[in-house]
Amino acid sequence: MTEAAARQLLCVLSLPLAGFHHSMRTFTMKIQSSRHISRRAVLRHAVFAVGTVAALPLAGIVSAATAAATEEAGKADQKAVQYQDHPKGTSACANCANFIPGAHSGEPGACTVVAGEISPKGWCLAYAGNG
């Protein structure tokens, strides 16, 4: 994720929290300064607070959408399958049934189940020895 995207995501996340904090603070100040709290005031602040909290999942959706956009459709994230760019023992992507070789020998290729560029010397959990 780029720095700009991270900043944008942080901003989206912080908005509902700030709204909720502001609403509760105002409400607390009001009930401290006055013995009488109108039903309308309580409802107004409650609605605002609940609305801001309810908006929180939207921030999650934005985050998930951003992450999904970086992945190839239907493939696993490299981190999830513990991809590494060096072999694990005698196992390397070049000998995996799922590896799609690059244009030239030794060049990075792709994978049928893992997203992104794959080194022929790499390894991941989904390694399937091809004989």
Binding site: T90, V113, N130
Partner: protein, 373 residues
């Protein structure tokens, strides 16, 4: 109900600016706190509007009682491991008896394992050496090392206890091991990149998946030779396999994320079912109610209803489930979760994960269960 104490003025009104007017008296009135004010009760009236001490004590007692009850329940919980469950710990070069936490080391790259029908022996393939090992389950002693060829994969015992079998994907063979004599007696050429084995219950036939091809080899155990090959179109890279209880349907899991059901009578694929991403084990649970399959590049175990050939549930077990095997009675299913180093235990009545048992090492890849192997 939450109570709070409110102070009400009694007597005459105070004069403005005179805080200690002796004529002002207070009385304590106990009120019920309306639900809408809960959360702000500490600031109501600016005075002592705290919940009663008796309520706090009651809450503490209730919590303590809950802890005691849950602890007692856990102590008398169901037996998740009614028979031994063995998991290979590939990155720890070991096999663990999950139910007893005993671990047998010095099994280089322990990859696939199988337990004999009598529960006394394990056959273990190595990921990094062209070998398979025969192991005494009581002592962990290595009774034999067999040179089976490059890229070892699945292993199996015949139900009659006579044969062990181990795959070499690199050689395209299965090695047949005389268990009693502890000798490798023959290497049978089966096809391109074989992967795993399933014996019929009468021990007469062994089915071998051909990951580099498009089908399953049939090995006759009387002649110790390949006699047939069943084509399995619609999937890519036949990987692991199991048989239905009546042995009329062959269930084949592929490399990418599909399961094929093959009717052995007609030799037709009757269903191709999309499941989790990449390869995994497959098990028709004893009793035949469900077919479970792992998905190593995913985080779910798929549950297939063999009556409808539909996935009825994807159970989140954590990242990287591969080996799956049910208990002998079909009550529990164990999944080796490779990225979290845990064995997930699934209740087949509720289809929920009921336990995440920490493995005794890294990368729990394959599971074998005495009585269902």
């Amino acid at each position: 109900m939450l109570l709070y104490d409110s102070y009400e003025r009694v007597g005459c009104n105070p004069r403005p600016g005179v805080p200690n007017d002796p004529r002002i008296r207070f009385r304590v009135v106990r009120r019920r706190l309306p639900l809408r004010y809960i959360g702000a009760c500490m600031t109501l009236d600016g005075r002592s509007s705290v919940p009663q001490r008796t309520h706090l004590i009651s809450c503490c007692l209730a919590c303590a009682l809950g802890v005691i009850v849950s602890t007692a329940g856990a102590a008398e919980g169901p037996d998740y491991f009614p028979e031994p469950v063995y998991a290979t710990l590939t990155a720890s070069n070991a096999v663990e008896s999950v139910s007893t936490d005993r671990t047998w080391n010095a099994l280089t790259g322990a990859h696939y394992d199988a337990v004999s029908a009598d529960g006394k022996l394990l056959l273990v393939s190595s990921k990094d050496q062209p070998e398979a090992y025969l192991v005494d389950v009581k002592s962990g002693e290595k009774l034999g090392t067999f040179q089976i060829g490059p890229t070892p994969q699945g292993v199996a015992f015949s139900p009659d206890g006579k044969w062990g079998m181990a795959v070499s994907a690199g050689d395209g063979t299965v090695s047949v091991i005389d268990v009693k004599a502890r000798k490798l007696v023959k290497k049978v050429a089966v096809g391109k990149v074989p992967h795993n084995i399933r014996f019929t219950s009468d021990s007469k036939i062994a089915y071998v998946t051909l990951q580099g091809g498009t089908g399953v080899a049939v090995v006759d155990m009387a002649s110790l030779g390949k006699v047939d090959e069943i084509d399995v179109p619609g999937i890519k890279g036949p990987h692991n396999l199991d048989l239905s209880d009546d042995e009329q349907t062959l269930w084949v899991r592929d490399l990418i994320g599909k399961v094929a059901a093959v009717d052995l009578g007609s030799r037709k694929v009757v269903a191709v079912i999309p499941v989790g991403l990449s390869h995994g084990g497959i098990d028709v649970i004893p009793g035949g109610k469900y077919v479970f399959t792992g998905a190593i590049a995913d985080h779910v175990v798929d549950v297939i209803d063999p009556a409808t050939f539909k996935v009825i549930k994807q159970i989140d077990v954590g990242q990287g489930p591969h080996g799956v095997r049910a208990s002998r009675d079909g009550r529990w299913v164990y999944a080796g979760v490779t990225a979290t180093d845990r064995i997930a235990v699934i209740d087949t009545q509720t289809l929920e994960v009921v336990r995440q048992e920490p493995a005794g090492g890294m990368l729990p890849f394959w599971i074998s269960v005495a009585g269902n192997d």
